[in-house]
Symmetry: C2
């Protein structure tokens, strides 16, 4: 039989072992790690500064005020294959605050996508995500909502959080849709139209090899009810999909690429650098990346969209519209008046001509530049019905 | 003072607590998790099957034999911002075997990129990576090499592993370069030219907002010594860069997007679906994605490249060349004979015309299609020096 001293020794050994491994799973972040992440961003170049490579963006002339990111609040709806990676990227970038909404649990069937770990199977996604994110950067304020935003009572909470959930108790700066269903998207659309909040929609097709992101600024661009791109991208009306029993394919690659495009455009929007894409698609089979712009539908079924359109028109007339959101004259030049949705492909080659970057003098982008209507292929220009346009977009997205 | 019984009770309590949290950090994977991952891939649609969403790629008609992935071995050189995400993606996809090469340690300054966790700071990257990957999918055979491949003796080990490191003791199927320096890339290039191994090069610019991947098949495409794209992409000759003291900017978005492009093309190559891009660039500022093809330099300084070129020509003459690697006639049609590197931009819009996908009937890609030389902008066609071509590529990449 062991003596009291031996037992005490074993307790100490177990305690020490426990405190080592505890670091990875505990809700509290180890003091050592937490102290490396301060709430202000240092630009000091040293291995122990987690922000040195981000603050270097200023030295490189890409971003003027990177540390402004600490002031922003972003709401992410859906923390599955795209949303969880989106949340991790924003956390690693040092965003101020994240609001996470989801009601699913982690399953082993999710392990073919990034972020979640097998031992998290069975736990709620928002809880598992918040724990991991807090561990990655404990200075990011993570608030998780284990709920379905599409029910009437939860919708109220959702709206309230969008209005008062920021770091300063005000409106969130952006909403990101990373859900995999039609109702979720329509709910976000409704809330953002009502509140006049800018948001990004994202999606990945059921066959796992295409995806898209779309920036929606109520009143200025098409809203999700004006011309839903996901129905289009997946070639399937989502309303007809039963969620149970459906086994859509998925790949970690496509999901992470879409999350990457999403967060990159969020950074460009929030930190005011580069060009924010209005619609960016990804076709993995051909490495093809369609870009387009969707203007709002003047007969949109969402009355708040119509209201926002009117307000936006007034703002433009009064020239008080946010310059960073404004469709550039160059871009709008190729939108025909009778192209009711203003669907337009922004051609990669063409896009690279109008820039302030050092376009190669020795390089001829041999696209004709004689008239504006060949600059970007314009999708039709006559009285097409909504269904025709959906078919067109459908085909475009399948290119 | 505590009684013997009380102390025994505390030991049990600690033991139980310890075994809960131990799961996350232990080298051994919990039996429960391991049993869910079998070495054969089930296509059963259930939440506990980690492969159900991958095997669904077969049902969706994307991949014919997804389970073939279990037979492949891929070597990844460099497990930093791009390489670690690459390794995680391949692990989640259920690759057969990974060989990981690196000699760096994890630093807190790496936390602005995906994959590594703060508590791994100070540990060797290959060791930290192997542990996490083994936890994600314990059936993937991970072999890590904590070494710099550019030294003479390590180069021998590296070559030996490329020749005999596969699951069956044979050649690896692909080599992926995810290093951040010139010497590393030239070493991989040398080894692959010598052994005739196909590989992918990848890179992210110092300002964090552009990147690329490139597929190199010795003899068929330009090798890294023929026309190094990284020198070009970063506008800086890497040889002149001192690694110490340099604080390049980096973003988790760009790194994950480049890793996503890389692994997506690895999957297309190994599992024979879609089109493998020869060169795919990413410009984050404009969401611009240049694609091009680089033919080998007939006066390349690497004698093994010249040898491979001769062998490839013979193979083509004898028509025994791998059809999946062959440059399509359509593509080569626009390469001028005196464009010595065969540098060619594959135009996104143009590329999407020649496919077997349902191109939208209602859509007019209004690019002129009258002659072949406007289909994809061809970079020059006369006697340019290597330096001129480098400048051209430099400018192209900065577009």
């Amino acid at each position: 039989m062991e003596s009291l001293e031996e037992l005490k020794g074993r307790i100490e050994a177990l305690r020490s072992l426990f405190s080592d491994v505890k670091l990875m799973t505990d809700d509290e972040t180890p003091a050592e790690t937490a102290s490396s992440f301060s709430s202000t961003m240092s630009d000091e170049v040293k291995d122990s500064n987690p922000y040195s490579r981000l603050m270097a963006l200023k030295r490189m002339g890409i971003v003027q005020n990177y540390e402004k990111i600490r002031d922003y609040t972003v709401a992410i709806v859906g923390v599955g294959g795209v949303g969880s990676v989106t949340a991790e990227m924003l956390t690693r970038c040092g965003i101020g605050k994240l609001l996470l909404f989801d009601y699913d649990k982690v399953e082993l069937a999710n392990m073919n996508r990034m972020f979640y770990m097998p031992q998290q199977a069975g736990t709620y996604k928002v809880e598992a995500a918040a724990k991991t994110l807090n561990f990655i950067n404990p200075t990011v304020d993570i608030k998780s909502f284990n709920m379905n935003i599409t029910t009437v009572e939860n919708y109220e909470t959702f709206q309230k959080e969008l209005l008062h959930g920021s770091l300063t108790g005000g409106r969130v700066d952006l909403v990101l849709s990373c859900v995999d269903n039609y109702e979720g998207r329509m709910t976000i659309n409704q809330a953002c139209n009502e509140l006049g909040l800018p948001w990004f929609e994202s999606g990945v097709s059921e066959n796992a090899v295409s995806g898209h992101i779309q920036f929606i600024n109520p009143g200025e661009t098409a809203c999700f009810a004006c011309a839903p791109p996901l129905i289009v991208a997946s070639s399937v009306d989502e309303k007809t999909l039963k969620k149970d029993g459906v086994c859509a394919a998925s790949l970690p690659t496509t999901m992470a690429i879409v999350a990457g495009f999403l967060v990159q455009n969020v950074l460009k929007k929030l930190l005011n650098f580069g060009e924010v894409s209005h619609y960016l698609g990804y076709n993995a089979m051909k490495d093809h990346f369609p870009r387009m712009k969707l203007l709002p539908n003047t007969s949109c079924s969402d009355t708040n969209c119509i209201k926002q359109q009117e307000e936006y028109k007034e703002k433009v007339a009064n020239q008080v519209v946010d310059e960073s959101l404004k469709v550039s004259e160059k871009e709008s030049a190729v939108v025909h008046e009778d192209n009711i949705y203003g669907i337009e492909l922004v051609h990669d080659g063409a896009a690279s001509k109008d820039d302030d970057y050092s376009a190669g003098d020795g390089v001829k982008y041999s696209l004709p530049q004689t008239s504006s209507n060949v600059e970007g292929p314009v999708v039709s220009d006559t009285n097409q019905s909504v269904d025709d346009l959906r078919n067109v977009m459908n085909n475009l997205n399948n290119l």
